[in-house]
């Protein structure tokens, strides 16, 4: 962010944004290519529709940014959205009260999030394993509880979500914007945000400063749980039903959006703005490729190649930019050895 609070050194800041600027460029090129084939495709409405259709990705991506910055990747969102939706659906089915269902959904998602936070923060189990397990069991539960059939949810609220628009902005789009703003605020202005960067870099030093890493991790995973619930509400409304196989592979899109935007998997670095551009990219990619009316096969193939290309470009630009931003004489963390450890891979 270009604010007087943060950037005494403009050059360094700019170099740190190269990856996302390149992504923006690539997105524009992508749009250009697709537009060349289908000249009527790209309009502002298309843009809004693209984002609305990928609203779940966007909302989860904001929370995922926190997760990845803190050094804990989360593979559960896709399955958890499905499960949360199923819970909402089941409660709705039995009580005909959507609000109650939504409460239940929020309760579940946040509870699971906190449980993950506890396992990772207190028992120090690798986040990949814990959330991978959730990826598996949550999907299993979702499908099992519904016997693989969807639960229809059709109320006035659902209609509201799907059709209303304020000043031309649809509800899902509005929620996405709101999430980004909240996420940005949390990350940059609150203690929670700053501490997220801290534990992503060095948990021990952070604890020595008196900050409870457990509390931070609980907050981060709890936040993800909350966002999962929000995304579920949108997803269920858009489909007007709770589908057990919903959002399969969502975490893939989410993680790609975050990484491609420039947030590093190693933790300690990242920004919501970068994630937003990443989400923009993924949404347009999904929408654009879909619009080309490709066969399923071609869709995934091309999507895969494009993502591979973009990931490589991001990785390389980060590498190159790091070399130019490089600290004077590669200052080590401690006084003693002058040779910083090199990882084997």
């Amino acid at each position: 962010m270009l604010s007087r609070y943060r950037n005494p050194d403009l050059r360094a800041w700019l170099l740190g944004q190269v990856d996302v600027l390149l992504l923006l460029l690539m997105t524009i090129i992508l749009v250009g290519i697709i537009d060349a084939r289908n000249p009527t495709w790209f309009t502002l409405t298309t843009l809004q529709t693209a984002i609305s259709q990928n609203a779940a990705v966007a909302i989860v991506a904001v929370a995922m940014t926190f997760s990845i910055i803190s050094g804990n990747i989360d593979l559960s969102p896709g399955a958890m959205i499905a499960l949360t939706g199923v819970i909402i659906g089941l409660i709705f089915e039995h009580t005909h009260n959507l609000f109650l269902g939504v409460c239940g959904g929020f309760g579940l998602a946040i509870a699971v999030g906190l449980a993950h936070g506890f396992l990772v923060g207190r028992l120090r189990i690798n986040a990949i394993i814990v959330t991978l397990a959730a990826y598996i069991w949550a999907r299993g539960m979702a499908v099992g509880l519904t016997n693989a059939t969807s639960i229809s949810v059709n109320t006035s609220f659902v209609n509201f979500v799907n059709t209303s628009s304020l000043l031309g902005i649809s509800f899902p789009f509005f929620v996405v914007i709101a999430t980004c703003v909240i996420g940005w605020y949390l990350l940059n202005r609150t203690k929670m945000g700053r501490y997220t960067f801290a534990i992503g870099r060095d948990v021990r030093a952070t604890e020595r400063a008196g900050i409870s890493a457990l509390r931070q991790i609980l907050l981060i995973f709890g936040f993800m749980g909350f966002m999962i619930a929000v995304a579920t509400v949108i997803t269920v409304s858009q489909a007007a039903s709770a589908q057990p196989y919903a959002t399969d592979g969502l975490e893939l899109d989410v993680i790609i959006a975050v990484i491609v935007g420039g947030t590093k998997l190693t933790g300690g670095e990242g920004s919501i703005v970068k994630t937003a551009v990443g989400v923009l990219f993924i949404s347009l990619l999904n929408s654009g490729l879909g619009n080309l009316a490709l066969r399923d096969a071609d869709f995934y193939f091309i999507k895969g190649i494009v993502i591979l290309a973009v990931l490589s470009v991001t990785a390389i630009t980060q590498r190159v930019a790091a070399r130019y931003t490089g600290q004077p004489a590669a200052a080590p963390l401690s006084v003693e050895s002058g040779t910083p450890a090199t990882a084997g891979g």
């Binding site: 990747i73 396992l119 028992l123 120090r124 189990i125 690798n126 990949i128 394993i129 814990v130 991978l132 397990a133 959730a134 990826y135 598996i136 069991w137 949550a138 999907r139 299993g140 539960m141 499908v143 099992g144 016997n147 693989a148 893939l252 993680i255 790609i256 990484i259 998997l265 190693t266 066969r295 399923d296 096969a297 071609d298 869709f299 995934y300 193939f301 091309i302 999507k303 895969g304 190649i305 993502i307 591979l308 990931l311 490589s312 990785a315 390389i316 590498r319 450890a341 090199t342 990882a343 084997g344 891979g345």
Partner: protein, 337 residues
């Protein structure tokens, strides 16, 4: 020292004076816990379900875990190096698709088809390895990207060849139907591969280098071990395992389509985790992964026999991982106290 003494010496925690009873229990659990659990499960399942401990059922279990088990070998090796390979599912399907396309659509001999499939699988592994070791991109990202690309390629190939390919060659049929001595062919292949992997890790310099690079990459570098080569070879091996799994799965399903091998990646990781291998690298053994596969297979089979809905089985798998991870972590924490 007699053989028994040597075995006991290996099992006994080495500084018994310094470890309290809790730590000692944790240590022993870490060493033999998985085998004990497997044994217990075997007992419990056999007693509760009469059909469990029959030859036909055991054969079933072995065949079912063959594919996952083979993939888990490669995944274990990569995880020993503190890495992960998310592309194994796609590569397995890719190998099967290549076999199908060559053998059925192009009438190539089975042997040639298999050879090409394996070579290509190793090729993918090499790409993964080079990107991780030389370009230094994180394994998760690299293998995610490869997975996507290969997945797309699979779709393409399948779409161009009629969406599904039926492989009927005697060779594959034989693999499923025949038995060597008392074991199904698949099981023999599985055990042979595990034995080979075990020998590789224990008895070759390369195997030792894997433990070294995974255990302390810095020290490995300073001991003169060529870490990048070790990494590349490891990912190539993982690709090979996925390729071999593709051959096995072709035999098992007979008809290759998009639906094949979808949950392979996560089953494989479940197996590795349940087997006790840590994501932190440097320690663990393929034998334990095999036990993990057996446990996994037994539980799955038991649930099927109990007519558990397919869906809940997946849920159980997930909870299994959680449970295993928590237990292992508790044991580790207990040991280090």
């Amino acid at each position: 020292m007699s053989v028994a003494d040597r075995v006991l010496e290996r099992l006994r925690p080495h500084d018994t004076e310094r470890l309290g009873p809790l730590e000692r229990a944790a240590y022993i659990f870490e060493k033999v816990g998985t085998i004990v659990i497997a044994g217990v499960l075997l007992l419990v399942f056999s007693l509760t379900t009469s059909v469990f401990f029959t030859e036909a059922n055991i054969d079933n279990i072995l065949i079912q875990i063959a594919v996952v088990g083979v993939v888990a070998i490669g995944e274990s090796i990569v995880m020993l190096l503190r890495g992960i390979d998310l592309s194994v599912g796609s590569v397995t399907l890719f190998s099967a698709v290549v076999i199908g396309v060559l053998n059925v659509s192009h009438h190539t001999s089975v042997a040639l088809a298999i050879l090409v499939a394996l070579l290509l699988s190793v090729g993918v592994g090499l790409v993964n390895g080079i990107l991780v070791a030389l370009v230094r991109v994180e394994p998760i990202i690299v293998t995610l990207g490869t997975s996507l690309a290969i997945s797309g390629l699979n779709q393409r190939l399948l779409a161009d060849n009629g969406s599904w390919i039926s492989v009927n060659d005697q060779f594959f049929v034989g693999m499923v139907v025949n038995k060597i001595w008392v074991l199904p062919v698949m099981a023999v292949i599985l055990f042979v591969l595990y034995a080979a992997a075990g020998v590789l890790l224990r008895k070759t310099p390369f195997g030792r280098y894997i433990y070294a690079v995974g255990g302390n990459p810095r020290a490995a570098h300073l001991a003169g071990i060529p870490a990048p080569l070790v990494l590349i070879a490891a990912y190539a091996l993982c690709g090979l395992c996925a390729g071999i799994a593709g051959v096995l799965i072709t035999a098992q399903v007979g008809t290759i389509s998009q639906a094949v091998g979808g949950d392979l990646l996560f089953s494989a990781i479940t197996v590795v985790v349940v087997g006790g291998l840590s994501l932190a690298g440097g320690a663990g053994s393929v034998e334990k992964t095999l036990v993990g596969a057996i446990i996994f297979g037994m539980i799955y089979n038991f649930l099927t026999l109990q007519s558990f809905s397919n869906y809940y089985k997946q849920a159980i798998a997930g909870f299994l991982i959680l449970g295993a991870a928590v237990l292992i972590q508790l044991a580790r924490v207990g040991r280090e106290r």
